[in-house]
């Protein structure tokens, strides 16, 4: 176990190296020149050349990369070139990251609260109608294109008429709800967070339901369950104490892996609900070719992903004593 963790820790900087080189290359060789973006399309070519030299952008790739890494190691992630002109990227992320983390945490909590019981029920009543219904609803909810939600939700919430039938319209009108979902972001505890949290939770619900269902089905066929039943334990005790606990182990793993995704904002959801999180910044930066921002966010997400993986590997040892003895 010790050497395993050591190997994992040694691999971490290597992985970050590859991720950063790839991102750096994509940013550098991608369309759009940051200097051109900065100065506008009709800039004087001499000025462009001078600024390129000033920023070291005329250096060969590896020199630029080494400079970038040096700066990053000193805590300098560069400056935003476009939308948040001249703001240090580090501060930009520090400002917007908490919002995304809060939103994602809420989504994970909601996902656990809904997904685990759903999976439990579906697993217990396998192939009965309730299992089929749960599976169908779960698959349907992850299949729904988020791009469809935008027009649909704006159609529902931002129009006076829904059905174009005067009397019926008054009955189903959601006019009073409108201020609750539109307008500026007021934090995760305001009603405005309900829709984005629910949308982001659908993925969590789907994954956890599926795992919990499969886990229950697998555990219920184990010998110790038969033993527990044979010795006359009540069914409720068998399920809660013997089956559910073991089926929850992979759930803990999955939730651990999801923690790695905490720092990655869903850019579609964030931009549509006007959530000032990192997802929206990434989205804007991508289209503006604001590549220091993209670089920093990609590195952050990669780091979180790797750390979450490491955390999960460590947790296995605590949860399942059989693994601790190995290696």
């Amino acid at each position: 176990m010790g050497t395993f963790i050591l190997r994992r820790l040694l691999w971490l900087p290597v992985l970050l190296f590859f991720v950063s080189v790839i991102t750096f290359a994509l940013g550098l060789y991608g369309p759009g020149d940051p200097v051109q973006v900065m100065l506008g399309l009709h800039a004087n070519p001499e000025t462009v050349a001078r600024i390129r030299q000033e920023y070291g952008l005329d250096e060969p790739f590896y020199v630029q990369y080494v400079n970038y890494v040096k700066n990053v190691l000193q805590g300098n992630f560069g400056y935003s070139l476009v939308r948040y002109r001249d703001q240090p990227v580090g501060r930009l992320i520090a400002e917007h990251l908490p919002v995304t983390v809060q939103l994602n945490l809420c989504a994970i909590v909601v996902g656990i609260l809904i997904g685990v019981p759903l999976g439990l029920i579906a697993g217990l009543y396998r192939d009965r109608w309730i299992d089929l219904a749960v599976r169908a609803v779960v698959i349907a909810s992850i299949s729904l294109p988020i791009i469809l939600l935008n027009p649909v939700l704006s159609f529902i919430f931002f129009r006076e008429h829904i059905v174009f039938v005067p009397l019926l319209d008054r009955l189903v009108s959601i006019g009073p709800l409108l201020p609750q979902v539109a307008g500026r972001w007021e934090g995760v505890l305001s009603p405005k967070a309900i829709l984005p949290v629910l949308i982001e939770a659908t993925g969590v619900i789907a994954i956890l339901t599926r795992q919990m269902r499969a886990g229950m089905i697998e555990v219920l066929s184990e010998d110790y369950i038969r033993t527990a039943r044979a010795k006359g334990l009540r069914e409720r005790v068998v399920i809660v104490r013997h089956a559910m606990r073991n089926a929850l182990i992979p759930i803990v793993t999955l939730v651990g892996l999801m923690l790695g995704g905490l720092v990655a904002g869903s850019f579609l959801v964030e931009s549509w609900f006007d959530v000032p999180g990192v997802g929206r910044i990434a989205y804007e930066a991508l289209f503006a070719r604001d590549y220091y921002v993209i670089m920093a966010l990609t590195l952050l997400i990669a780091l979180a992903y790797v750390l979450a993986n490491l955390l999960v590997d460590l947790m296995y040892g605590f949860l399942d004593p059989r693994i601790r003895t190995m290696g």
Binding site: G30, P145, I146, I147, P151, E218, T298
Partner: protein
């Protein structure tokens, strides 16, 4: 001789694919998925016959019209028939799905199989490469790759002397397929590796080795066929994801470019300025959106049904 013996011994036992088919047919959501998938493929194949107009034929005299006998779903701002565009959109979707899946198979299966079979440094190399790809932030990374390779592909087409092609928007198919394929193979490689690891120590593989079957043949004829079920399930679910990603890319303007028809870019055109100008034409948002959703549902239902059908013991 062995062949006829085989036939005698399996007499009365249904072939496995028929059992799988029966389980699919008895599972309503999976059956729905199968029907929709077959339907979309048929529409894609028959698009030139089914569509009343060419998808890119503009008719400015009949722009932005409500549905009529001539144009069942109305026309867009350039007078293109929406019904035809949506039908041709099926062909775009199926083409992208098939190509991305092929790219994923071509990269993921050999790499995953090699990693699982030989282990050692091959395994380390392939799996670490997959690790790097997994560390990137999902769809945002696909967008990044697509936005980056797009000018490169266009410049390449110009350099080859295909100026018209470079400007037409059809190169966007290549951009979508490459970016989804490059990013998408890693998951498949992991799955194939895990499957190969479980199968390669089984008795029949050892027996094949003992009989002197060459390694390549052992992998392709003995190991991979027995690792097939999870791969089929993953592919089926992955196809839904590909359709969705293509929709997102096209919706964002990095994917398929008009005049190439895509449900994603129809949705974007309809949901954007155009919809605001003609709010009564809301079906131009609902219909491509609903079709895209139905196709993704279908692939996921089918994958779920295949999962139940191919793993009856779980």
């Amino acid at each position: 001789m062995t062949r006829s013996l085989n036939r005698v011994m399996t007499w009365g036992v249904r072939p496995p694919w028929l059992q799988v088919a029966r389980r699919i047919v008895r599972n309503p959501p999976a059956l729905f998925g199968l029907v929709v998938v077959i339907g979309v493929v048929l529409v894609a194949l028959l698009a030139p016959v089914l569509a009343p107009y060419p998808y890119d034929k503009q008719n400015l005299d009949a722009a932005a019209q409500p549905p009529s006998a001539a144009h069942w779903l109305g026309t867009d701002a350039l007078g293109r028939d929406m019904f035809s565009r949506i039908i041709w959109g099926a062909r775009s979707a199926v083409f992208v799905i098939v190509m991305v899946t092929l790219v994923g198979l071509a990269l993921g299966v050999p790499l995953g199989a090699a990693a699982g079979y030989w282990g050692g440094w091959v395994d380390t190399l392939v799996m670490r490469l997959a690790d790097v790809l997994f560390a990137f932030p999902g769809l945002l990374f696909v967008f990044f790759v697509a936005a980056t390779i797009k000018p490169g592909i266009e410049a390449w087409a110009r350099a080859m002397g295909w100026r018209d092609l470079a400007q037409s928007g059809y190169l966007s198919y290549g951009v979508v397929i490459l970016s989804l394929g490059i990013v998408g193979w890693a998951g498949l490689a992991r799955l194939v590796r895990a499957q190969v690891l479980t199968v390669k120590e089984r008795e029949f593989v050892i027996a094949a080795h003992a009989l002197g079957v060459p390694t390549g043949r052992v992998i392709t004829r003995h190991i991979l066929p027995n690792a097939l079920a999870p791969i089929i399930i993953a592919l089926s679910m992955g196809m839904g994801d590909i359709a969705l990603s293509e929709g997102y890319l096209s919706f964002m303007g990095i994917g398929l470019q008009p005049p190439a028809p895509s449900w994603g870019n129809i949705l974007a055109e309809s949901a954007g300025r155009y919809w605001r100008a003609f709010p009564q034409m809301v079906w131009l948002v609902w219909i491509p959106g609903a079709i895209l959703a139905a196709v993704v549902f279908a692939f996921n239902f089918l994958g779920d049904g295949l999962n139940e059908a191919l793993n009856p013991e779980i």
